[in-house]
Amino acid sequence: MITDLYVENGVGRRVTDAISIFTGSHGITAHFQHDVHPAMQIAQEGDEWWIEDAVARGWAILTQDKSILQQGPEREVLKAAGGTLFALSRADFPMWEKFRCFAVSWPAVSAMLAASGPQAMVLQKTGHEIRSL
């Protein structure tokens, strides 16, 4: 059971804070990317390194960059590491919609957090879609 969520910068600290406010209820602690990896540019190795690191910590990833699930090195790293990733269906959702996407699919999110990766889900305003890796 995954109990920690790595929230990518673009999703936002407010969404991170909102999820963590209810840790006592749902058991999930959210971590903001900037706090975990403050020097995003030092590694200079694309997006793979933080995906690999978050998965190695045993965390799931919440991102607004759905393109990670397209063919490419990021997807391959996620797959090889056995990671779990939630991606918002659109990057330009307002902050409230981002949180809403996460909350409206909570039962499915919770079930995925209890399962083993590699696995991915695209979160929409009114539902979700499981993506194979």
């Binding site: 910068n9 990317q33 403050p38 997006d47 960059d65 330009d92």
Partner: protein
């Protein structure tokens, strides 16, 4: 472009291997010209990085926004164009080799670099001349896409000059010759590009003083802040929700200077 270069009649340098196998080349000897000795040493490039730079990521419209030209112009330059001239049909060939397809995502990071060069010198040199000069560089440097390599940054000016001399092509508009040299064309086109592992990796979209970059390794090649890698559209969407600079900085992890730069760039 590389294929076209073969037809220019310039000195062939033996391209039996693919550019990927050969990699970028580094010059080793200033006195080698005119001899049979190679001008450049062979440096292996990272295939994964090269592949990332050539992955289609941008539509004509998106690329046009990034280089400051209408999407229709970008399409004409990259997909070719048919027009009527004095009653006859004229076909303008593409100036840039698309890495994708018009039906899906046509343009790559490398295509963006090529476009920004065309845009920058549209008023100084004929587009077809720049294209031919790039083809010439491709042959001389033994790479398919010279703009991708750090060797172009180092030797491109010299190669453009040689092209101009050998082909009697002024390259730079004579009316502006006093203001712009061929070397300027290359140095300015590459000034805002960072290289790593011999290949172009990052483009400072406005200038090095404005912390907005497109990095082929980050955020699927979308514009991001230079230090914190926050997508520019994530910053702009928060501003449209009414958040101030400090609030956006808090919510994204970007610095206030990065947020301000992103908003100014979006408003421009």
């Amino acid at each position: 472009m590389g294929g076209d270069a073969q037809g220019l009649g310039v000195r062939a340098t033996g391209r039996s291997e693919s550019a990927r196998e050969i990699g970028a080349l580094r010059r080793i000897c200033g006195e080698c010209r005119g001899s049979e000795m190679p001008l450049y040493t062979r440096v292996r490039v990272d295939e994964r990085i090269e592949q990332r730079a050539k992955t289609p990521r941008y539509s004509f419209t998106a690329a046009g926004q990034l280089v400051g030209r209408p999407g229709s112009t970008v399409k004409r330059w990259t997909a070719g164009h048919t027009r009527r001239h004095q009653g006859a049909t004229v076909i303008d060939p593409p100036l840039i080799r698309m890495d994708g397809t018009p039906e899906s995502l046509p343009l790559s990071f490398l295509n963006l670099l090529e476009l920004q060069m065309l845009v920058r010198y549209r008023d100084d040199a004929a587009l077809q001349s720049i294209r031919k000069a790039l083809d010439y560089c491709a042959v001389e440097l033994q790479v398919d896409r010279p703009l991708l390599t750090v060797d172009f940054k180092v030797h491109g000016g010299e190669l453009f000059t040689r092209f101009s001399e050998e082909h009697d092509d002024l390259l730079v508009n004579a009316t502006r010759a006093g203001q712009t040299t061929i070397e300027d064309v290359v140095s300015q086109a590459t000034a805002n590009i960072d290289y790593a592992s011999e290949l172009a990796q990052r483009w400072w979209v406005v200038s090095r003083d404005v912390p907005i970059v497109i990095d082929s390794r980050l955020a699927a090649g979308r514009p991001v802040t230079a230090e914190t890698a926050v997508r520019i559209d994530a910053i702009v969407s928060r501003a449209s929700e009414g958040l101030g600079v400090d609030e956006i900085a808090y919510d994204t992890g970007a610095s206030t200077a990065e947020v301000e730069a992103a908003l100014q760039h979006a408003a421009a």
